[in-house]
Every structure is written in structure tokens, then in C-alpha cells.
């Protein structure tokens, strides 16, 4: 008697397990046509750049549908595992679902295979989901353009990857931004990196956080779909760091102080 591994199965693949249990990611694509005039809720400005200790990821909190502001407390930077964050721009429903699948995928892999998934494997996993989502994206119902930030414990290096809607991934060595407010701040990021006091990668955590808060406020100034910080209502941008110690979100108390100091004129 001989045993053969089924070549059609991939050990530790949660997405495959989900499909076996009846979950269908693309069933929605095959049967749906986007009716004209439909407005879907969309996310707006997120950014990431390398700093001295790792990577900073930040995003505004506004979700819009057409001209309407739907929500001012949307979290667009989502933890995937202890060392990985995903920042989303696009349709939150699809993006949140992707994040949920990825979270379970990485944890399921780590627990079942008793080893952490490689950074390359994690990057590929998101690429695969985006590819599965092409139908929804082209119909205008589920386009997502994420930023993926992770820390590679083997190489002792943080990595940022930017994806297009079809699933192609691009490794970013300095900075990236996505969403409707991103064109405003991409130029500033480039300028800061080339001609600022220091290149972004050499900046301290506090300098990096200050810059991120200012960039999001600037984006909000020019893009109606990006929400400003509103300290009086305790609405602050989401700011998180990915370092050798894992991810860490700044809490509201710290953000209140940082917003106050960062947004003061003339500094």
C-alpha cells in the first residue's frame, strides 16, 4: 500500500479549508452586476514609510459613499498577525473580509505547520486574494488597494509592499500612500525623503509620527474623502508602528498629545 499526498491540496492553507466548508469568495462576482448609480462605501488615505526602527503605517478615519460621509471612526489599519499590518483604501467590506481571511490564514498556517509563514508567503497570500477579487473590482463594487507592512524576523528587517487592484505587489524601500488623498501627500513624502532634515529611514519614532499626522491632515485639507483629526470629538488618525517587537498602535491618549503638538502652526 502506498500513500500519496494530494497535489491539489496545500497544507496549512486556511483559504482552501474555507472553500471546502462551503465559503465562496468569487460566487458574488459571477452572479452580480453593478447596477448603475450605486454608491458603495469607500476608504480614503493611508500611508506607510520606513523609519529608523521599522515601519510606520497611518490612516485617516473617514468612510464615504459618493458625496456622503458615512462614518468618521473607520479603522483602516488592520492587524493581521503579531508582526503584520494591512492598511486599506477602497471598499471596506471587501478589505475587511480580506483582512479576516489573512488573519486566519497566517494563524492557521502557524499553528498547523508549527512554523511562521515566510514573509514572501504572506505577501503572496494577499496577492492571491486580490486576484480572486478582480471581478468585483472591475464591476466597481469591491476595489481594494492595500498597503502591507510586516517585520521579517529572519532578516531582521521591516518591509512595505504596495499592491495594485489586480494583485501585483511592489516592494517599497522608502514610502508609499494610497487612496483618494494620496496624490497630495506622495509629493511631500518624496520631498521630505530627498530634501528634508534627514531621509525618512533615518528619522526617529517621534519624528515619524509627527510627519504622519501632518501628512494626513494635509491630505484632509485637499481631499473631501479624507477625514481630519477632530480632537474635540476624540477622533484621531490611526497610527501604528511595525518593529522587531511586533506591531504597536498608538493609543488615543498619546495621539491627543501628539496631534496637539504636531499640528501647532510654525513648528
Amino acid at each position: 500500500m502506498s500513500f500519496q499526498t494530494d497535489p491539489h491540496t496545500s497544507p496549512g492553507d486556511f483559504f482552501e479549508l474555507l472553500e471546502k466548508s462551503g465559503y465562496r469568495w468569487h460566487a458574488r462576482i459571477d452572479s452580480s452586476q453593478a447596477p448603475s448609480g450605486i454608491t458603495v462605501t469607500q476608504g480614503t488615505t493611508v500611508l506607510a514609510f520606513h523609519f529608523k526602527d521599522g515601519v510606520i503605517v497611518a490612516g485617516d478615519r473617514r468612510a464615504t459613499a459618493g458625496n456622503s460621509i458615512m462614518y468618521e471612526r473607520c479603522d483602516k489599519v488592520i492587524p493581521i498577525d503579531d508582526y503584520t499590518l494591512m492598511a486599506i483604501a477602497g471598499v471596506p467590506a471587501t478589505a475587511f473580509e480580506m483582512a479576516r481571511v489573512l488573519t486566519h490564514n497566517f494563524e492557521y498556517y502557524r499553528r498547523s505547520q508549527m512554523q511562521t509563514m515566510s514573509v514572501e508567503g504572506k505577501i503572496r497570500a494577499l496577492s492571491k486574494l486580490l486576484k480572486e477579487n478582480v471581478g468585483m473590482a472591475v464591476q466597481g463594487l469591491g476595489a481594494v488597494s492595500p498597503i502591507f507592512a510586516t517585520y521579517d524576523l529572519k532578516c531582521k528587517k521591516a518591509a512595505i509592499h504596495f499592491y495594485d487592484m489586480l494583485g501585483a505587489d511592489f516592494r517599497i524601500s522608502t514610502h508609499t500612500a494610497t487612496g483618494s488623498g494620496s496624490p497630495t501627500i506622495r509629493g511631500i513624502l518624496e520631498h521630505e525623503d530627498l530634501w528634508g532634515d534627514k531621509p525618512l529611514v533615518e528619522r526617529s519614532e517621534s519624528d515619524a509620527v509627527t510627519l504622519a499626522i501632518r501628512l494626513l491632515q494635509t491630505a484632509a485639507q485637499f481631499d473631501s474623502a479624507t477625514g481630519k483629526a477632530r480632537p474635540e470629538d476624540e477622533i484621531f488618525p490611526t497610527v501604528a508602528l511595525v518593529t522587531e517587537a511586533g506591531y504597536q498602535f498608538l493609543n488615543d491618549k498619546d495621539l491627543a498629545k501628539l496631534c496637539k503638538s504636531s499640528l501647532k502652526r510654525g513648528h
Binding site: F14, L18, S21, D82, H104, Y108, R111, S112, M114, G246
Partner: protein, 244 residues
């Protein structure tokens, strides 16, 4: 052949004897509370006794490695699907056992044409309120729950002796180091009650040198979602020098 009830009962009884005989050499796995969470530990000639199942759930197994692996994967699949479809808060050990593997194990054991699982499982959970839960699952699907920790071993007599000692020890008040030392001491005592076997280490020091100590904690102090943490080589090295 099995149309008569007596023959079916006889066959089931024979299966009990067969599985118990096969399990006999299984080395104990202990799980106890400590002041910050739950500790699970065991020595074995090969690693592969203690596992993470879900965010707040750990598993220990004795028996045939392939059977332990199969049930581990079943638990993993169930827990992750439930966590994805509902919420991580809905993934509880009681549900996984009562509605998941216990009925399946019982059915498998009583279908006498099928090979029985040669296993005994220990499952530990630290719930969202910080309360520990301990479960012991037998190869026939029978499961029990314990408040102050539990143990599984191949030899039932050894298992019951160690269980009594666990019940009498205030583990929940111990810091991790003390809980580790005390569980090592209980493991050492359990070894002395077993029949002489030249393959089993004679002292704790020999166990540390020749076998693997696997130990993990579910820590209530961790702010992450997943609270399982395997003890590091350094922590085990320190323990070895203090008890070995």
C-alpha cells in the same frame, strides 16, 4: 457475527483492553493554573506533545502520534472555521468537545470495524475573564472537566495518583517558576510509580538530558489576541539548573 448484543459488547471490551495496552507507555502531560494563567508541560523522547489550538486554547496528547495529529488538525479546523464564521469569542473548549470531537470519538470507538484512536488528550483554556478550564478526553469520547488542573498519562493508575496531588496543591497561587518546578516534581513522582523500563529516564536530570521538556503557557498578562507561548530554551535551561 455482531448481530448479538453480547458479541458487540465483547468486541467493545476487547477494544478497551487493546487501546489501554497500547497507551500504557504514554508519558504524562500536566496542566495546572498559575498566578498569571495556565501552564502545560510534559517530557517526551520526541517533541510533539504540546500544541497551540486557538488564541486561548492549548492541547497536550499521549498515544499514537498519527492519531494525536489527526485530532489536533480536526480541532484546529473546527476552531478556525468557527472563529472566522462567528468570532474568536465563540471558540470555546466546551463547545469544541461537546459538539465536536467527543461524539465523533465515541462513534468511531463503537464502530468496531474501524481502527480506534489510540489517544488521550488534555485540553486547557484561559477564558476571556481569566478563568482557567481543564479537560481530559479519552479515546472513547468520554471527557471530564477539572478546576485545578489535570493530567493525562498512558497508565490510568499513575494518572489518578497525579490527579489527586494536583487537586491538593494550590497551583493557582504559584508564580510560573514555582508551578514549573512543582509540575516537574510531580512528573518525577509519576515516573517512580511506573514499571521499570530501561528506556525511561531514571532521574529528572536524565529526563532533561535525554528527552525533551515541552512547556507552554496561556498567559493572562499578554495583550495580544493569541495568548499561547511556548517556553524558550533559556527558560527551560534555567529550570533544568534549578531542579535537575
Amino acid at each position: 457475527m455482531f448481530e448479538e448484543p453480547y458479541r458487540w459488547m465483547e468486541a467493545v471490551s476487547t477494544r478497551h483492553s487493546y487501546v489501554q495496552e497500547k497507551l500504557k507507555m504514554g508519558q504524562p502531560v500536566l496542566s495546572v493554573p498559575f498566578n498569571e494563567g495556565v501552564l502545560i508541560m510534559g517530557f517526551a523522547p520526541q517533541p510533539g506533545k504540546i500544541f497551540e489550538v486557538y488564541d486561548r486554547i492549548a492541547l497536550g496528547g499521549v498515544g499514537h502520534p498519527a492519531d494525536v495529529e489527526r485530532l489536533r488538525m480536526t480541532l484546529l479546523d473546527m476552531a478556525h472555521l468557527e472563529g472566522f464564521n462567528r468570532s474568536a469569542q465563540d471558540v470555546t473548549l466546551a463547545r469544541l468537545l461537546q459538539f465536536g470531537i467527543a461524539p465523533a470519538l465515541k462513534q468511531n470507538f463503537e464502530e468496531i470495524q474501524r481502527a480506534p484512536y489510540i489517544i488521550r488528550l488534555l485540553l486547557a483554556e484561559l477564558d476571556g475573564d481569566g478563568h482557567p478550564h481543564f479537560f481530559r478526553v479519552n479515546y472513547d469520547g468520554h471527557w471530564e472537566t477539572f478546576k485545578n488542573g489535570t493530567v493525562i498519562a498512558g497508565n490510568e493508575k499513575v494518572m489518578e495518583e497525579v490527579q489527586k496531588k494536583i487537586q491538593d496543591t494550590p497551583f493557582a497561587t504559584f508564580p510560573l517558576n514555582k508551578a514549573l518546578k512543582e509540575t516537574c516534581r510531580l512528573w518525577d513522582e509519576s515516573r517512580k510509580q511506573e514499571e521499570d523500563d530501561e528506556n525511561i529516564p531514571k532521574t529528572l536530570k536524565e529526563a532533561f538530558d535525554q528527552w525533551y521538556l515541552e512547556a507552554a503557557v496561556l498567559s493572562g498578562k499578554v495583550e495580544r489576541r493569541a495568548i499561547y507561548r511556548a517556553l524558550t530554551k533559556e527558560e527551560i535551561g534555567k529550570l533544568k539548573s534549578s531542579v535537575g
